[in-house]
């Protein structure tokens, strides 16, 4: 092979409804590495791309939330397997995006893969941890179970383009929600590549939809969208977060405000369960227990 071989560039595309469209606006923007060197053009999503992503996420919600927790766990684990095989690509993209050495980038990718494994294991346990029978004072069987909130907009962290991204997306879908993800504006390439992995991991189309572009432009219509049930504001700065939370009040979206960790680099800490529970609803079902016979109920 000649060193002079001209390499084949990759055209980065959005991931919506299991497909890889360009932005309907036809716009792209330049993505550079941490030193300003051009890496690729990324689609610059529009309001309409956001709208299409919500439609895809809503369509996928019934099937994904209705899948068994075991099945969801298998698929999340499959994502980890697929990533493991494409580790080199992600190490390169993360190194370029975040200006990390190859070894540090490798550690980040390893942590991201491990995070998928962590959440893969949670799918069929969270229901037991946060749900259960309630001992009501009467002849009733009473059971609380967590259910996914619905379609969740996720503003991925701006700095941690891959580990941060995985850390916010995986818990949303682990419990059966579907997601519209707005990738880091300046470093969207690992996110767009993740779409390619998700597409080959048995994850039904539409469960995760990934948009790149200007966060505020894409997030605004998502925050006010009446068919979006929740929004994770991790990737928004304080001013944008306030604006989006205000818009989200129109249909009372569940809002996960930016957390202290988001600005910092440390996404390696124990994630706990709060990102799982933030997008869960508790449903409580009552039913009479009745009696075996009438003789227990004499006057």
């Amino acid at each position: 092979m000649s060193d002079n071989r001209l390499s084949v560039f990759k055209t980065y595309k959005l991931y919506v409804g299991g497909k890889f469209p360009r932005s309907e606006s036809g716009r792209v923007y330049e993505v550079t590495d941490s030193k300003g060197k051009w890496l690729a053009n990324a689609p610059q999503s529009s309001r309409k791309d956001a709208r299409d992503a919500v439609v895809a996420a809503r369509k996928a919600f019934g099937g994904w939330s209705g899948a068994t927790a075991y099945n969801r766990g298998q698929i999340l684990y499959r994502i980890a397997e697929m990533l493991e095989g494409r580790k080199d690509q992600f190490v390169r993209e993360v190194a370029e995006a975040e200006g990390l050495s190859k070894s540090k980038a490798a550690a980040v990718v390893d942590a991201a893969i491990d995070r998928w494994v962590w959440y893969a294991g949670w799918t069929d346990k969270i229901g037991q941890v946060v749900g259960g029978a309630n001992p009501v004072a009467g002849p009733f069987f009473n059971l609380s179970t967590p259910e996914p909130t619905g379609v969740v907009t996720v503003l991925a962290p701006q700095k941690s383009s891959f580990l941060g991204l995985v850390s916010v997306v995986a818990p949303v879908i682990a419990t059966g929600n579907t997601a519209v993800v707005v990738a880091s504006a300046d470093s969207p390439l690992p996110a767009l590549s993740l779409g390619e992995v998700l597409a080959t991991s048995d994850l039904p189309g539409g469960v995760v939809n990934i948009l790149s572009g200007r966060t505020a432009e894409i997030a605004a219509p998502l925050a006010s969208h009446q068919d979006v049930n929740a929004i994770d504001l991790t990737g928004a700065d304080a001013a944008l977060a306030k604006e989006l939370e205000t818009a989200a009040a129109d249909n009372l979206k569940r809002v996960l405000r930016p957390q202290p960790v988001d600005g910092a680099a440390d996404w390696t800490a124990d994630p706990g369960t709060h990102r799982l529970t933030a997008f869960l609803e508790t449903k409580t079902v009552w039913h009479p227990t009745g009696a075996l016979g009438v003789s227990g109920s004499s006057y």
Binding site: P288, V294, S295, S297, S298, Y299
Partner: protein, 320 residues
Amino acid sequence: MPTTAPAFSDATASDSALRRFLHGLPGVDAVGLEARAASLGTRSIKTTAKAYAIDLAISMIDLTTLEGADTPGKVRALAAKAVNPDPTDRTTPRTAAVCVYPDMAATAVAALAGSGVKVASVATAFPAGRAALDVKLADVRDAVAAGVDEIDMVIDRGAFLSGRYLKVYEEILAVKAECARADGTDARLKVIFETGELSTYDNIRRASWLGMMAGADFIKTSTGKVGTNATPANTLLMLEAVRDFRAQTGVQIGVKPAGGIRTSKDAVKFLVLVNETAGEDWLDNHWFRFGASSLLNDLLMQRQKLSTGRYSGPDYVTVD
């Protein structure tokens, strides 16, 4: 022969058709039924309403003695009490009936002649009903011949619980036939389900419909001889059944809770059930009865309290 309403001729054509019909009746949610009965039990019946209810309850009592130790003397004493429940107050209503075993029927009939108080006789190998059909029918025949006004029969719970509904149905028909008198009139037939043995509310609803379809004039909860007798819930359920039966057929059937109703407070609660479930058409001793014995004295003491303002005591009512 009594006729059943034409609407039911298909349902009673065979054992399987009857099963399909009875199992097609709406189910009963036990907790909801008991909650409704309890809720009606919280009605507060005071002053004039209480006076009305107490007199109504007295007038609805089937004053009962069903003991192995019964004698003509005992029955005559009871009859006297039925006619004149409170010797200190002649405005006290008479009870609806006196209820006895068949061999005491003639005594009761004689004692109550001309009083307006009816005589009811249990029959059909009461309370277990475990005898050959011929024996049961002879039991009925004897009582009718003795001149009773009403027959309280028991159903074959064994047959019912093993799903032989047609056998139960035909037995009621046969008893009903024996209630016919020579003059073309009939003794009124009360059909006792022994709800405590049927065990489930679904069964009680099915038995109610089975009894009504077979020509019962009254459906009655129990014999008073088992652990669980009349309760607000099972009586409420039977009141729903007679209400629905009349809506569907136009035929009105009576209800008789029996056993376990001992206090005025209990009796008034049952009357509230009648009032708010079947409706005021049933607030009459032609359509509602209490099978009871000790209840009467408690009602009388309450009645005395209402008229005098003082609490009464057992020494001021008669022991019989």
